[in-house]
Subunit: 405 residues, 2 copies
């Protein structure tokens, strides 16, 4: 019998009625001949509410304690869903992350899964039970509870699918799948039937927040097919896989965007070995994610270094950077948080010529100035005025003819 | 260094401010030179709220799932209290029942502690941390989460005190200790400085709901001194112990009462061996607690059997009893749920004469009719009209001169 791992996000289990709806979907998957393992998130705004409670007793809640606190949100959902299934006449059992055998390192708040021992789940499945697993959590060798960071339930689901040798992992959410662009901005955006892991990663990391990047990476490493679909209807969704289909290769898959980007420029940096790491290592230690990095050609061993961060990190970045700039003898630090980014993504772009040129022309035709450019094998990203992001997304969607089939 | 185990009930940790107040109390106990382990209940009405959620998805929530669900309430409190302590500059760590090494049988909803492995707690105490344990819960050999039944946090606290070889167990609650009678009914009621385990059990089981009977029993078996006191002030509270003090022996300690009693009478029961068990075994199986049992003298091998149950169990009792009465050839089943009980409790009553006579005279003087009498070594209980319970408590309190010191 095929094993299917399903994941239901917080909005899909926000109240008793929605939990019963999810139970119905699980029963249908079971009756279609599958063994089902369902991973659940905390109900609705539960996690935010627990974080609020923590901040009522502490300005800076201790991370180990916070993880133990937050883990209760997913446990609540898992037990309620199991009860609902039993009331509907189906055998079911809920398991916490610890009971499900999910071992992690001790990096509280953003733990990494080190190992999954699927024995208990397998035993329950053999016993004809549907297994409901509290997502987002695991346990260390010292039996301390950890959480996997926001969106970690996706990672739990893909990890379990891999450990159980499941046929596929199904991520049910409040969107219908992965779109060629954000439909709120580009109304003609089209749902993709399939997408490659790498393209999905680029789509996710540049703003099309459909599922957690770590989960996609994990699926990629173990070649686990991941279906992203709506928990509210039976539309087919988007299959993320590593297959070699015509649609995946040689084509632009979609336009991603993020309207909240800050550009940081360190002017007059002495161009000598180790300078870049002296700037970026302290930022990494401070937990600040740096995106595009551009270094101008050096003139007389002096260069300018420009990079982008999330605009919410602008202040923290400047606080870290200023003393360093002084120390290394740089001239000045500048920041601009009025920016956004648009990206064209597609596995075929590396081999096909002219994608970048078409992108720049489309933006120029709209009178949109490009502040910074960065590229990967399957992505071209332009940093632009944040106000012009919607206009850019629409123009690029038209230019690369994504609305048609 | 002395180990003290403290327990804080739901009303003592109902919000962030109360949690900070409890943190302050723990710090004072620590600064007085103790190693402190604190056991906490779920905040305020959390448990009731979780039960409501369960009933929204299931008419009859599965017991294993319900235990896993309810256990989250105490985990939330324990993490918040640990955060509050850390924020106040003190080393602390929260542990779930499982992490604290509390093993139970698999009787979900009312599990019994089978063993406590205190190694983790000892390690944390050696590491100079105050340990906050989520009360009311444990884990089976199969790693399933159990709960110990309502009031189980008291049992967790006394159990841990025994396992850790603590100096004493302190139960902090919203009352100031054990009183000679319910102060809402007998305004002249006086707080006891100390009371014996057995007397405390009688006080608790007949209505003076200060702490869970199982916890008192456990304390008695292992001779663990238990202090019951208010979490809101520093008044001394009541010490429950097995000591041989003058105050405990040879005296009436208090008056207990319960206004919700139903009397069941099975008339015309053939008086032959095994008849009583054929009636009371099915009641025990149905989870109905039978209190006083009286069997009249047999006339021509026919007798009447009378017993009392909580008035909330009246209907269920009659449903169980009626078919049995028919089967054994009894004449009739009657029930009366308009009753209550008052008890006079004191370790010295067995050896001192006249207590029963004084009790009956006091009730007669108030024109209160006694429906049923039952006694133990340290208790005399009368079943009376429920409307007259307050009047009876006041009269008995005066008769046995409990208001004085």
């Amino acid at each position: 019998m095929a094993i299917v791992v399903q994941k239901y996000g917080g909005s899909s289990v926000a109240d008793a009625e929605k939990i019963r709806n999810v139970a119905g979907r699980i029963i249908r998957a079971k009756e279609a001949g599958n063994q089902v393992v369902a991973v659940v998130s905390a109900m609705g705004k539960t996690t935010d509410h627990l974080i609020e409670m923590a901040h009522e007793v502490s300005d800076n809640p201790h991370q180990r304690e916070l993880d133990s606190l937050l883990s209760t949100g997913e446990i609540v959902t898992s037990t309620l869903l199991s009860m609902a299934l039993r009331t509907m006449g189906h055998r079911a059992i809920s398991l916490t992350g610890a009971q499900a055998g999910i071992k992690t390192d001790a990096t509280f708040n953003k733990a990494r899964i080190t190992d999954i021992n699927p024995r208990r789940i397998q035993k329950e499945l053999e016993n004809d039970r549907t297994v409901i697993v509290a997502g987002f959590q695991g346990i260390t060798d010292n039996l301390d509870v950890t959480t996997l960071g926001r969106g970690g339930s996706d990672t739990t689901a893909v990890g379990l699918a891999v450990a159980l040798g499941a046929d596929r992992c199904e991520i049910y959410t409040d969107v219908e799948g992965v779109y060629t662009a954000d439909p709120r901005i580009a109304p003609e955006a089209r749902k993709l039937d399939e997408i490659g892991y790498e393209e999905m990663l680029e789509m996710a990391s540049v703003g099309a927040k459909v599922m957690h990047s770590r989960a996609v990476e994990l699926g990629w490493v173990y070649n686990m097919p991941i279906l992203v679909a709506s928990s509210l209807n039976d539309n087919p969704g988007t299959m993320i896989h590593g297959g070699n289909s015509m649609e995946i290769k040689n084509k632009v898959s979609g336009i991603a965007h993020d309207p909240n980007i800050a550009k940081i420029t360190v002017q007059g940096v002495p161009d000598r070995p180790g300078i870049a790491s002296s700037i970026f290592e302290p930022l990494a230690s401070a937990g600040i994610s740096v995106d595009s990095i551009v270094q101008n050609a050096s003139v007389k061993h002096i260069t300018d270094l420009t990079f982008t961060v999330a605009s919410t990190d602008e202040k923290a970045t400047m606080e870290v950077i200023k003393p360093i700039a002084k120390e290394i003898g740089a001239k000045k630090c500048l920041s601009d948080a009025t920016l956004g980014k648009v990206s064209v993504i597609g596995a075929g772009m590396q081999s096909g010529p002219g994608y970048a040129a078409r992108m720049f022309k489309a933006l120029a035709d709209e009178d949109i100035n490009v502040e910074l450019i960065s590229t990967s094998e399957i992505r071209i990203t332009c940093i632009i005025d944040k106000e012009k992001v919607p206009q850019a997304v629409q123009a690029l969607h038209r230019t690369f003819e994504l609305e048609g089939d």
